[in-house]
């Protein structure tokens, strides 16, 4: 090789940094990091090379061949045009794109013509028409006519690959973005390329042309992935569409508005598209710090609750006939204010806020509680909770920012230990990050749980199996059982993630803190609901003020009294009651009124007691969107705005603020903070939370005026020992909610509901045999309160442990009165037939 071919250096060239190479693209010199794809380098220079299969977050495939460019190395041309999405930059490379090379241009035109041979060109009726890369590039670079005169290849259409996702195979250009996404990002390779050759097509095992023999057989598996909607969004043609959106609208008729997902605590960036005041669809927003370019199907498809027919749009007041009647705002407000004033001056008011509030609304609730109702009886935790949890949240979570633990730090962590946390069901985007970390960075992911769940499998995770309720002991003994994990946790950047289920297990938060102290690992708490983290920081808890100062801190109280222009000593100094305490007090007649915002009693550990408390308490004010068990029992119901109809901020689990503006303007719906502000005025108190903006400003001032105390150790709840109760004849219950279940924000979404994971009862083979349970056949768990039946499925749970989903569809708490870690009786058969079926087997005899 000689140097003669090389171009003489035009200038005193800039030094090529270590790990970089120098090349030219279209005659322009550029320095690029080694390993970068040519298409990416060109992009950085502003040179757009057309492409379909290339996606920056997917592994290169070179499937569509649209991005062909001419390449020569050291003056020697490569014999054929190269796919710029798979070829990496090299020193001395000369690349000519379609802009400077007739060869590349002709190659690209040829590929485009080939891609269009079998494409139906049905753009006028295609969902993608108007925002379609194939359409756009055909218009920009393609021919105006086709030389193909034969019959196009067609397929029956559309093909239902799940209840939600529809496939029009004749539109497909076989770029494999959808299959690569499913395989690489989601870990759900339920779709693949079938029938390679002239009939090549995307399909599932259900759609594959296969025969079954006469015997029992499955029909194949549909595209059952929590992330399937992303394939629609990245499809560069209209081959994948959703049953929800198909034929509903044209892209150019939609108004797009950036938004934030209201479902889980990840706080994904979204784009909400609406038309004539109705949301038509949601798409993933692009936010590299949080959700990259993905969202889960719940975030994408679960929004019809806002247009549910039964949505409450006017205030309701219970009349003398015992029914709710529509009333004017002033009338409802006056009635509510009168009753609340009476209650405040009587035995008091309790405030239950649910976990779905924005930071601003949560702040308004706590200010309403402390200033208007003069109580610390406020709690956002509409789920199992404990004093230990609250201590932990105060000490370890309140006030933390993404600098503590973030999505990015999960990728950098040498190990992530998930405790009582099932990421794919509880925070799907955290799951995607963990999977990415495991796949790309070699992060170890370990789980303290009961069985090898899909989260464990798809993050190449290690399961530290323990009995439900045995998580605390497992953590304390981790040094003996899994020394290597302790060593890994001691390394820089190690993370422990703890989920909301931890609150059901006495001693677990204390054990988490001990482990963190022993190893130096950072702890993050990932609640399931979008509003929980913000509510904590806003002070919607019985023990903390906004900004995380304890209510017992006289200095902090004084600072807030000054800020809020209250008389000195007017803020209540005693820590309030938690959710359970408030409900118990209401039931016992120790409270005269409850203010309830967005709480579903079935989420609480004792739904019956909760309903009883709502029945017994003198006055119930409900702030709600749709009829619920609370509105049924409320005296006054005030309608509030769903996320799309208000502005606000969700503070995600990282402590990152995710502000959003109003998507649907002027619907007449008002946010909670404004309702509370007006109500407080009726009670002769000013909250200054008329708008989310005002509420936020007030929150920031409040948070800045108090100081958060140094972290204190968490005391294990005393019940820890009691958990080892008599287990004779019983099995232990492990349970959590699946992502797609009967949650109230998922109503009116039948296509989404169809992609829910089947509700099954999982247990190991030995336990199944002992109880005469056959896989696929029904099994029943029962307590004194009631029973639940599911088809049985074998999984690697510990002996005498069963797992069931918490609300798919029946609430476990409601049906059985126990939750995760509880004891239940297990038998074969369905609930109704179980009694007789189990008699002869002597099952009850053994359990008695």
């Amino acid at each position: 090789m000689t140097l003669a071919h090389q171009k003489p250096s035009e200038t005193a060239q800039t030094e090529v940094p270590e790990g970089h190479v120098r090349l030219t693209i279209d005659g322009q010199e550029v320095i690029a990091p080694k390993g970068e794809l040519v298409i990416r380098t060109a992009e950085r220079m502003g040179i757009v090379i057309p492409r379909f299969c290339d996606h920056p977050l997917l592994d290169p495939a070179g499937a569509c061949r649209q991005c062909l460019v001419e390449v020569s190395m050291g003056g020697r041309p490569m014999p054929k045009p190269q796919a710029s999405c798979t070829i990496t930059v090299a020193d001395g490379m000369e690349v000519k794109t379609q802009l400077t090379s007739p060869v590349a241009d002709k190659a690209q035109k040829g590929v485009m013509e080939l891609l269009l041979i079998n494409h139906p060109l049905d753009c006028p009726i295609c969902d993608k028409g108007g925002e379609c890369p194939l359409q756009n590039q055909a218009m920009a670079h393609g021919r105006t006519d086709s030389r193909f005169v034969d019959r196009k290849r067609t397929f029956p259409k559309p093909l239902k690959i799940s209840t939600q996702i529809l496939l029009d195979r004749e539109r497909c250009v076989l770029c494999q973005r959808c299959t690569r996404f499913s395989q690489q990002i989601a870990g759900d390779p339920f779709i693949d390329l079938l029938e390679r050759g002239a009939q090549q097509q995307i399909g599932t095992s259900e759609t594959a042309e296969l025969e079954k023999s006469a015997s029992h057989t499955p029909d194949g598996t549909p595209f059952q992935s929590y992330f399937s909607g992303n394939t629609i969004q990245i499809c560069p043609v209209g081959a994948l569409t959703s049953a929800q959106y198909r034929f509903r609208s044209r892209p150019f008729d939609l108004v797009s508005s950036p938004s934030v997902c209201e479902h889980c605590s990840s706080g994904c960036a979204e784009r909400t598209d609406f038309r004539r005041g109705r949301i038509m669809r949601k798409l993933a927003g692009d936010d590299p710090d949080v959700n990259e370019e993905w969202i889960c199907d719940k975030g994408r498809f679960a929004f019809r609750y806002t247009t549910a027919r039964d949505r409450i749009r006017k205030p309701l007041v219970r009349g003398e006939d015992g029914e709710l009647h529509e009333a004017s705002w002033p009338e409802a407000m006056r009635l509510a204010a009168e009753a609340l004033l009476k209650a405040r001056d009587g035995k008091g008011i309790g405030v239950l806020t649910g976990g779905r509030l924005t930071l601003e609304d949560a702040y308004a609730y706590q200010k309403f509680a402390r200033v208007a109702a003069r109580t610390n009886d406020i709690d956002f935790r509409a789920r199992a909770h404990s004093a230990e949890e609250l201590q932990f949240l105060a000490a370890q979570v309140a006030g933390t920012t993404p600098e503590h633990v973030s999505f990015a730090s999960l990728e950098k962590a040498p190990i992530v230990l998930c405790v009582a946390f099932e990421p794919e069901d509880e925070a799907p985007i955290v799951f995607l990050r963990l999977r990415k970390a495991a796949r790309k960075m070699g992060t170890r992911v370990a789980f303290v749980g009961q069985w090898t769940t899909s989260s464990v499998r798809k993050t190449s995770g290690e399961l530290l199996a323990c009995e439900p309720g045995g998580e605390a002991a497992a953590l304390d003994g981790i040094a003996e059982h899994a020394k290597d994990i302790v060593e890994a946790l001691s390394a820089e950047g190690a993370v422990i993630l703890v989920g909301e289920r931890a609150a059901t297990m006495p001693g677990l938060f204390a054990a988490v803190q001990r482990l963190a102290e022993r190893t130096g690992a950072r702890v993050a708490w990932i609640p399931r609901r979008a509003g929980e983290r913000g509510a904590l920081d806003a002070g919607a808890v019985p023990t903390l003020l906004p900004g995380g100062a304890p209510v017992t801190d006289a200095g902090a109280r004084a600072a807030l009294e000054k800020l809020w222009r209250l008389p000195e000593g007017s803020l209540p100094a005693e820590p309030g009651r938690d959710t359970a305490g408030i409900l118990a007090a209401a039931a016992a007649g120790e409270l005269d009124a409850l203010v309830v915002g967005g709480v579903d009693p079935d989420d609480l550990p004792d739904p019956r007691a909760a309903r009883e408390a709502l029945d017994k308490v003198g006055f119930v004010l409900s702030l709600e969107m749709r009829p619920s068990a609370v509105t049924e029992r409320a005296d006054v119901v005030l309608p509030i705005a769903p996320t799309a109809e208000k502005a606000g901020t969700f503070r995600n689990w990282e402590g990152r603020d995710r502000p959003f503006e109003v998507t649907l303007q002027n619907t007449g719906a008002v946010p909670d903070c404004r309702v509370l502000d007006t109500l407080a005025v009726e009670m002769d108190v000013d909250l200054f939370t008329q708008t989310p903006k005002a509420a936020r400003a007030d929150f920031v001032r409040a948070a800045n005026s108090v100081t958060r105390p140094a972290a204190t150790p968490v005391e294990a709840a005393p019940e820890a020992e009691q958990a080892k109760a008599e287990t004779n004849g019983h099995v232990k219950l492990s349970t959590w909610r699946q992502l797609i279940d009967n949650g109230s924000l998922q109503v009116e979404e039948p296509h989404l509901a169809g992609t829910a994971r089947p509700a099954v009862l999982r247990l190991n083979e030995a336990t199944a045999q002992r109880h005469g349970i056959v896989p696929g056949e029904p099994a029943t768990i029962r307590t004194e309160r009631g029973e639940l039946s599911f088809p049985a499925e074998i999984a690697d749970l510990p002996d005498d442990v069963v797992w069931v989903p918490s609300r798919s569809p029946v609430g476990v708490y409601e049906a059985l009165g126990v939750g995760h870690g509880g004891l239940v009786q297990l038998s074969a058969g369905t609930a109704a037939g179980a009694e007789s079926a189990e008699g002869p087997a002597g099952e009850t005899g053994g359990a008695a």
């Binding site: 390779p189 023999s213 015997s215």
Partner: protein
């Protein structure tokens, strides 16, 4: 009363599947032989077969379906006792392969990948036209369960399938003795008779034909050798 659903694939097949899995560093590599194993049981790849492979290898059924629908040697409809493949690639076709296929199709009353008789029953035959069977020097060729019948004519082909239908097992021109489709599939899956003699007879028959070796023999006779490779660096 309920019973576990009968599985098509018994313990011996599970053991064989596990053995296949152990033969490769990446378990997914065992998929190709495992699909043959499935065919050795059912005579085709059914939905159960797909589910079985997926379960054994920790793949999804879609991933297994993708492979099973790629290769023509995986049959998606139940096959007969014998699989008769007629080469209709260029050379064989010109030498009479097309005529043979046409005649057999008429004679058996079936088309491509269709079965004359009840699939799996004795004497049933699945017919297919095949791509190149790698025996152009012996064209036109037919394979029965992948064993060669060379230099066929329309008449000899009809005679061959009639014998097969009568339950006879005509001797292939070369290679091993004729068995049936399922047995051949077990061999393709990588399971051979342990007995040396049976192995030699059933599997390892002499497969070279005189025509195949004629060129080599001529070259040896006349002392022809390939020209030397150009030395490294002396190119151009």
């Amino acid at each position: 009363m309920t019973q576990a659903p009968e599985t098509v694939f018994g313990d011996d097949i599970v053991a064989k599947a596990q053995e296949l899995k152990g033969r490769y560093p990446e378990s997914r590599s065992a998929l190709l032989p495992m699909l043959h194993l499935v065919q050795s049981v059912q005579g085709y790849v059914s939905r159960e077969g797909i589910a079985f492979c997926a379960e054994q290898l920790g793949l999804t059924e879609a991933e297994v379906s993708a492979v099973a629908t790629f290769y023509t040697m995986y049959k998606r409809r139940p096959c007969g006792e014998h699989l008769v493949s007629v080469c209709t690639n260029t050379l064989c076709a010109a030498m009479g392969g097309d005529a043979i296929y046409k005649k057999l199709s008429e004679h058996l009353g079936v088309g491509h990948e269709e079965t004359a008789g009840e699939p799996g029953e004795p004497g049933s035959i699945t017919l297919e036209h095949a791509e190149c069977l790698a025996a152009c020097d012996l064209a036109p060729v037919i394979q029965v369960n992948y064993e060669y019948f060379d230099k066929q004519t329309v008449e000899s082909a009809v005679e061959l399938v009639d014998k097969l239908r009568n339950g006879e097992r005509p001797k292939p021109t070369r290679g091993a003795e004729l068995t049936d489709f399922k047995t051949a599939e077990l061999q393709l899956a990588g399971f051979f008779p342990e007995d040396e003699e049976r192995f030699a007879a059933d599997v390892d028959g002499p497969s070279a034909a005189e025509e195949t070796l004629r060129g080599a023999a001529l070259a040896q006779e006349r002392g022809w050798i390939a020209p030397p490779m150009p030395e490294e660096g002396s190119r151009g």
